[in-house]
Symmetry: none
Subunit: 400 residues, 2 copies
């Protein structure tokens, strides 16, 4: 559904919604047992919650489409990810609390390793230590290109953000990362005539980087991708008439929440910290987005057992979430990360919506298989907010 339509029905109110995103929640059966991570884990609290919830499966982009974290979360927030694309550079910049100004062109940077012929041998420079990266970013800051302000910020390990600031610097630009080894980095190309100036600035920056990094192997070159400007999104708090707060230990997810206008609350580095932050701020907001990273991390590592344990750790904290007595508790994720894939997947993601009015179904276990026959059906992720708002009795009737 259209955000403007939902906004036209949204009502102020006192009921509170908690949306928990278990990153990479969805899984797939382990070949040895035929059971998915959720089916293997001991998660009594989630099963109990599913029993009294309306359950279903979320699809974030479309059937068969594997969402990145950006599209996955925008979907959870109510934004159709195909209608509101956001570049990687923008997400990366927002994730380090970099205040992007209108017109800034941001890119995600990687330090990488090239051989004597300039061919890439490691796209991540051996996942460089963050402290080394911070020093190398200092060198990149010494690069000057006429007609543009170049802002470089370290992120984590081999990653950094490059922001081009100045009049007439705009995309779309092609990426310099060829996403393969044994070939040199690509030149950035203007994908429209208006992007010529930005392409030239980027390429001069890259040549500068090649000089200042010469001899600093393994990090002797850079790759840039996801050039984009901050999109002009409808704001989440205004649209849904919610005082909305985001609690996320990882920068990318804070950045996403900030992008749609949520307030980002200071928290610690663990989900336990996030729950403490939730309790602390409970009175001051009526929508909380909580992000749980461990499930995705284990899935990306292809570590089935670790993903099971991450689910069990989350489950153990469910009573703490319930202790806040949210009027509506939503548990789902931004995409699947099945351990058998070791990567994001296209598989639909279990979702539960618990409220006194949710209209529970026959589902009594929070698993992919069980949720497939839930009352929410197979739901586009960007329609989930409507269901959450309805359960908070914060959506007016449509028509008389």
């Amino acid at each position: 559904m259209d955000l403007a339509f939902l906004g036209s029905l949204a009502q102020p109110g006192a009921r509170k919604i908690v949306l928990c995103s278990l990153d990479g929640l969805g899984g797939a059966p382990h070949p040895a047992t035929g059971k998915s991570e959720l089916e293997t884990a001991r998660i009594p609290n989630l099963h109990a919650l599913a029993t009294r919830s309306a359950c279903g499966l979320l699809r974030h982009v479309g059937p068969g489409i594997t969402p990145g974290s950006g599209p996955g979360h925008l979907g959870l927030f109510g934004y159709d990810p195909l209608r509101y694309p956001v570049g990687r550079g923008v997400l990366e910049a927002l994730g380090i609390d970099f205040e992007l100004r209108p017109g800034d062109l941001a890119a995600r940077g990687n330090f990488c390793t090239v051989d004597a012929e300039g061919r890439i041998t490691d796209r991540r420079a051996g996942r460089l230590a963050t402290e080394v990266s911070v020093r190398l970013v200092e060198r990149l800051r010494g690069i000057h290109v006429d007609g543009a302000q170049l802002l470089v910020e370290p992120v984590k390990e081999h990653r950094f953000v490059l922001v081009l600031r100045g009049a007439g610097l705009q995309g779309p630009l092609s990426e310099t990362d060829p996403q393969q080894l044994g070939v040199p980095p690509l030149a950035a190309r203007a994908l429209e005539p208006a992007a010529e100036r930005a392409a030239s600035v980027v390429n001069r920056f890259v040549e500068g980087a090649r000089s200042v990094l010469a001899g600093s192997a393994p990090a002797n070159m850079v790759l840039l991708r996801g050039f984009d400007q901050k999109p002009d999104l409808p704001l989440f708090p205004e649209t849904f008439k919610l005082r909305a707060a985001a609690i996320a230990a990882y920068p990318m997810y804070r950045g996403l929440a900030r992008l749609v206008g949520m307030e980002v609350l200071k928290t610690g580095t663990t989900f336990l910290d996030e729950v403490a932050t939730l309790k602390e701020h409970w009175e001051h907001y009526d929508f909380f987005f909580l992000h749980y990273k461990d499930t995705d991390k284990a899935g990306e590592d292809g570590d089935f057992r670790a993903k099971v344990e991450a689910l069990e750790r989350f489950d153990a904290l469910v009573p703490d979430l319930l202790a806040c007595r949210p009027d509506v508790l939503v548990v789902s994720g931004d995409h699947a990360t099945p351990a058998v894939l070791g990567a994001h997947g296209w598989q639909p993601v279990p979702v539960l919506v618990a409220s006194p009015y949710c209209g529970a179904d026959l589902v009594s276990r929070f698993t992919e298989r069980d949720c497939a026959s839930g009352a929410l059906g197979l739901l586009p992720a960007h329609d989930l907010m409507a269901v959450a708002m309805a359960n908070a009795l914060r959506l007016a009737k449509y028509g008389a």
Copy 2:
């Protein structure tokens, strides 16, 4: 989803997809037993496959809409049939390996029987023997109309193809087949001013046919329908980056596959031949479309028992398909042909997608009722290719 969008995510790869279309697969309960053809048939191999697959129901055009074979298969190939309409004449021409040129206007022809007053008494002239039809086509070739080249080709039994070639011959035209008995054939009408010339040529051809066929009862007249020009479709192999082959014993389905750019492999007249062809060419392609006709034939005849047996015959060959070890096996159909209807139906069609990453659901029987609660949900047919591609790990992630 949009084909161009899918194409932008498609990746080359080594994993192979087999798509089996059981023509008219979907059925409906027999009034005496309350069980559909799939529920009645002994199909242990399909049930076993469903158990380890993601299952669902396909909808080819829209709720309540009965697809023809053209839209039904275009949907399976990833083309929204409402966006890419294809006329019957075009399909018929492609199905006999007739090389349609851009601008050619093709129609499907039937020999029919008319009485002394010119009223239709049999729309198929008693399903005329093909050899008789071939001789009568020779007579039709003797008809000449100024300003147009008329090409007539026999198909099978009472069917033939008429192609109008020449400048300014275009549709849309109304059909001359009234699809009922007791009335005379209709004149072709131009449905837009630009089609006037074509309408006039068609009507003069039909009058010529009436003359040259006089006295050759039961085939003493012709009916024409499905006037259309070859559509300009995005090509399947390019879009999905697949070396794609079609194996179909029946011409129409070969024609459909050729229309989207698949390579059509020479095969025999039975599905057993098709499976042999699959094995023979296994190494040279990474997508195979196999067409199984018997289910539709039995359904069209209103023969419930025959359709059950057709399903059982297919089931017996499933192990041969699996012996090729496809990375992704998809089984579905182009539309329902419930024997109780004796015709194509609008009912959604069971689908299963088997792969190591499919994310199986609770469905353990390949039936209409069971698949309704599968993980794929109720899926537009033209989104099926995205799911198949994803399971072959040949679709890139959308967004970062």
